[in-house]
């Protein structure tokens, strides 16, 4: 309450240069203060983010020839890091990349990467050509700074 009152006084002074010592104003000011307290947002920092998102999310699918060995989650992560190391060296391999979900059946995964490394990860995935001496390819299906956006894909909608 104390802090709010101080804030209110500062606001009043800055807005209309009202002298608070004026006796006639007292009751008016106090009633305004009460209504201000009720309508003002609750104290606490209001957070507005104007910078770019911290992470980017990619939905990828690995294409392998039929009958080959399928990587499990750990091997999949290893494959991604290998691709990064090949194209971007140790600096690329040190990028924070996470495999959020991985489905071994469909070989599709959702990757999370720090925004500054999105281009590096994407290019490394594109240029990867082999998995265990067999041809393979990464298809990047969707990419977004919001994970929720990957929950649906407008390209896979079935329209009646």
């Amino acid at each position: 309450m104390q802090r709010q009152a101080q804030k209110f006084c500062a606001l009043l002074k800055s807005v209309s240069c009202v002298s608070l010592a004026n006796p006639g104003w007292d009751s008016t000011v106090s009633s305004v203060f009460v209504t201000w307290c009720q309508t003002a947002p609750s104290p606490g920092p209001r957070r507005v983010l104007r910078r770019a998102a911290e992470h980017h999310y990619l939905r990828v699918r690995l294409e392998l020839p039929d009958g080959g060995a399928r990587p499990n989650a750990a091997q999949f992560k290893q494959l991604v890091v290998t691709a990064l190391r090949e194209l971007h060296g140790e600096v690329g391999a040190a990028l924070p990349v996470d495999v959020l979900t991985y489905e071994e059946k469909t070989l599709s995964a959702i990757l999370r990467v720090i925004s500054s490394g999105l281009v590096k990860l994407w290019s490394a995935l594109t240029l990867l050509g082999f998995y265990q001496n067999r041809r393979c390819a990464f298809r990047v299906l969707q990419t977004s700074p919001f994970l929720l956006a990957l929950s649906g894909n407008s390209r896979e909608l079935v329209l009646d």
Binding site: L87, H88, G89
Partner: protein, 166 residues
């Protein structure tokens, strides 16, 4: 028509082993730097730095090296230089490292910097010298390098470099 802008990186080769000097040569250095770039920045970094990458000037006696690369990719090159750990020539490896002294836009600014740098190094040697003979020698070379610089700019550099190791 716009000229291609380059960056010149002036380095010195620092090594404990005195035999390392004989293997400071064009090819060995280029290989070592390329190897370091490949390790740190991968194929992409190597391809970026390979455009017009050359060893422009090399002084095996003082261990001074001038590398050239494109302006866009000099950051990749500079960040990879600390990862050069050895020079290899005639199937022998000598551990050493590269110390970056200056990054300039032209060879001329690098040369100016090198002359100034070597002069300050001479002054530092003068402070640290132990006997009178050394002091005389350094003072003589200091005077000589400051005199010749007024006459001609480019000719005195070799001489200036040579005196540093005395």
């Amino acid at each position: 028509m716009v000229r291609f802008k380059n960056r010149y990186v002036l380095c010195e080769v620092v090594s404990e082993d005195p035999r390392c000097r004989q293997c400071i040569e064009d090819r060995a250095l280029q290989l070592a730097v390329r190897d370091a770039i490949t390790r740190v920045h991968g194929d992409y970094g190597l391809a970026c730095c390979s455009i017009s990458f050359t060893v422009k000037y090399l002084n095996a006696y003082t261990g001074t090296v001038l590398l050239r690369c494109r302006k866009d990719s000099y950051r990749l090159l500079c960040s990879a230089l600390p990862f050069v750990r050895y020079l290899e020539s005639r199937a022998q490896r000598y551990p050493c490292f590269l110390n970056t002294l200056h990054v300039g836009g032209t060879i001329r600014t690098c040369q100016k910097f090198l002359i100034r740098y070597n002069r300050t190094q001479l002054l530092r040697l003068l402070q640290n010298c132990t006997n009178e003979e050394e002091r005389q020698c350094i003072q003589k070379s200091l005077l000589s390098c400051s005199l010749t610089e007024e006459q001609s700019h480019s000719a005195d550099e070799e001489e200036d470099d040579g005196t540093e190791t005395d």
